[in-house]
Amino acid sequence: MSSGSKPAPGVAGGNSGKQPGHLRPEVFARLEPLFAELFQRSGAARFGISAQDFSQILMEVAEKYLAATDKQDAARDLLSTVRVEELALARACAAGNEKAWEVFLTRYREKLYDAGCAIARNDSVGRELADSLYADLYGTGTREGARVSKLNSYMGRGSLEGWLRTVLAQTFVDRYRSQRRLVSLEEKDDEGVQFAAPVPEPSAEVDPRLDQAADAALGALSAEDRLVLAAYFLDGRTLAEIARVLGVHESTVSRRVEKITASLRKSIRDGLIRRGMSRRQAEEALAADVRDLRVNVRQRLAQETAGSSFSDKRAGAPASGEKP
């Protein structure tokens, strides 16, 4: 990673921890022709955005997504993926340009409603969702003379339509899912995978060998593999859904799930054997039911703060072995 231990700016959500203009000016040197071409392609002029304005916008995008140590090539690569036409439209709307709004409405108004209804699976909730987003996009007053519009945070990464859908989805999850999460502690919830508070269990511990072997095995998986596992086993997504997320074919996902689980199982078992278990013990450890798998709540809390995978274990922890 180019920026050492600091999380990449893009992934860090908003501009947290970054000063405006943190990129070195050399990054933008000699990018003028690119800026000019992008301005041309964007059609920003017809919405009253000058070349200069647009260059500012492009630099804003670069600032947001590049790390301080990125060079000009990175800037060039990034800017080439930016959806300039949509960016120009969005920013023009944010500035209140009427023509831009006309285009925007023609293209997106109905899509917004349809997307809202698809996300919420409920027409009235969906419309509400779309309405409130629309209000945010249109702008809710001014601050220091500039209109406050959510469209100003569209950076041309991903299509505008996709971005609108994502924002709708985020709003939906924030607004409706978190409520459901709280409620679901009381009522039975099929989807309740993400309980906020762990269900109280008899305090117990996992055999440290199992713990380590599992950590090692999971750590050896790629992020994409772990994503597939989480989506399939934790979220309960279908193969088709996962395939769409990753942009691969469904059969690819199917094979991947089988492969990963098989190799994970084997890898943990081998790790257990290496750490002293017999083969039978290892198999049993893997097959352990959740009720038998006793987890040290204190330990889990420690993990959450320290981020370590294996911390204090009581000396003389009972060997896994013949479990009842």
Binding site: G13, I119, G162, A214, S222, A230, F233, L234, H249
Partner: protein
């Protein structure tokens, strides 16, 4: 399906706590659309592996999938019909009868055509009530013919049929209404991946497919015989005949030419009369404009700008259970869009006016004007050692923007992915594991 060891499940859940800051909406969208840089994608993947909320958001935000024929309408939620606004000419609504065949014709064939003069002349302004755009057709034909890379038949489809029922009754081959584009140009023609090659083949005296040439001759004769009036449909006839260079199923060609006179007259009349502005059930392929719309006809080329805007409203696409491509302007009434005879469609993907439709037998068609005109697309992947062509059944089409898209095809149990980054001009190929 396999089971996940419980310890692994626990660990995955625990990773939640360490997921870090969430990617913003732009990054998530770009991730879903495969447009992140490699480093960004890695970081987003890392986060997603540990963050259920973001996985949730991602899954919710994905557009509905375009898939098998059994599925219902592709509804990306398109534009508002009512938002359509036309500046210029204030005419009442027009049902435009745009039915022209344009096929990319190698120069040689064109000149051969020129010999038979009657058939040749495309009337410059055919439709009485539809100024300008129709005149664009010949130009469009030329432009279309100049398209490169990949064998393309440019097909202009669909005469609006005032009576859809009649169209349906007419059955498959001889559908009088929508003029159906030639579906299967001769294989050997397809083999020539560039126009010059095709020209060469033709010039060499042996037509790529002698059968086709015979058909062509037959068409020329028929075309002469039908003596069309100066109306768009008639121009369609002529163009159809002219266009048949790449040949089509005989049935199709004949049906195109054989549009009954009364039908043509009717179409001409409709074009002239400008009926009220509703999407009538029977209208297929024509564009119904609102009352304020100018009488700009649906051209295929030069009128394209206005047309494009008009079309950028509520066009939805779907595939019927029998594999027919269908379109709706108002979300309620659906009409078959005839693209090519005998094609069983299985996937359609549309973005604004850019439409891709594919189906069995390697059928792949593209339209830039919401289905008014279609191009047969034959992706080819050429290396030094071999040329691979798209074969099998197209089962999935995904286009994130007009330029970048992927076609999935199946040949038996093999799954292939064809990807383009330039709107279908060039393609790369890979097997899907």
């Amino acid at each position: 399906m396999p089971e996940l060891p419980e310890i692994a499940r626990q660990k995955l859940k625990q990773a939640e706590a360490r997921s870090g800051a969430h990617p913003d909406a732009g990054l998530l969208t770009a991730f879903a659309e495969q447009s992140l840089t490699a480093g960004e994608r890695a970081r987003v993947l890392d986060h997603l592996a540990a963050c259920a909320a973001c996985r949730d958001i991602l899954a919710l935000a994905l557009p509905e999938q375009v898939a098998a024929p059994a599925q219902a309408a592709v509804r990306p939620g398109w534009w508002h019909w009512s938002a359509l606004r036309w500046g210029a000419v204030a005419a009442t609504a027009v049902v435009v009868v745009g039915a022209v065949w344009i096929v990319s014709i190698p120069n040689l064939l064109r000149s051969r055509m020129a010999v038979s003069s009657e058939v040749r002349q495309l009337p410059p302004a055919a439709t009485p009530s539809a100024p300008a755009p129709v005149a664009g057709e010949p130009v469009q034909a030329a432009k279309a013919a100049d398209k490169t890379a990949g064998d393309r038949d440019v097909l202009v489809a669909a005469a609006p049929n005032p009576n859809a029922a009649r169209r349906k009754d007419a059955g498959a081959a001889a559908a009088p209404g929508p003029i159906v584009a030639g579906a299967q140009p001769a294989t050997t023609v397809a083999a020539a991946s560039t126009k010059p090659a095709l020209q060469g083949a033709l010039r060499a005296g042996s037509s790529p497919n002698a059968e086709d040439m015979d058909r062509l001759k037959a068409l020329e004769t028929e075309g002469k015989a039908s003596a069309p009036a100066p109306s768009v449909p008639s121009m369609a006839m002529k163009a159809a005949v002219v266009a048949k260079a790449q040949s089509a199923d005989a049935g199709l060609a004949r049906s195109a030419v054989a549009m009954p006179k009364n039908q043509r007259a009717e179409l001409a009349k409709t074009a002239a009369e400008a009926p009220a502005a509703e999407v009538q059930n029977g209208i297929v392929g024509g564009l119904v404009l609102s009352k304020n719309a100018p009488a700009a006809g649906i051209g295929t080329g030069s009128g394209g700008g206005i047309v494009r805007d008009a079309l950028k409203t509520a066009v939805r696409w779907t595939i019927s259970s029998t594999g027919a491509l269908q379109r709706s302007f108002n979300g309620r009434d659906w009409q078959d869009v005839a693209v090519a005879d005998g094609v069983i469609f299985r996937a359609v993907s549309a973005l604004d006016t850019e439409v891709w439709a594919g189906g069995n037998g390697g059928a792949l068609y593209h339209s830039s004007d919401a289905g008014q005109t279609w191009t047969r697309v034959r992706p080819e992947y050429v290396t030094d050692e071999w040329t691979r062509r798209l074969a099998g059944d197209v089962t999935e089409i995904r286009f994130n923007d007009p330029l970048h898209g992927t076609i999935i095809t199946r040949v038996g149990s093999l799954v292939q992915a064809w990807t383009t980054a330039d709107g279908g001009k060039t393609w790369t190929f890979s097997f899907v594991r």
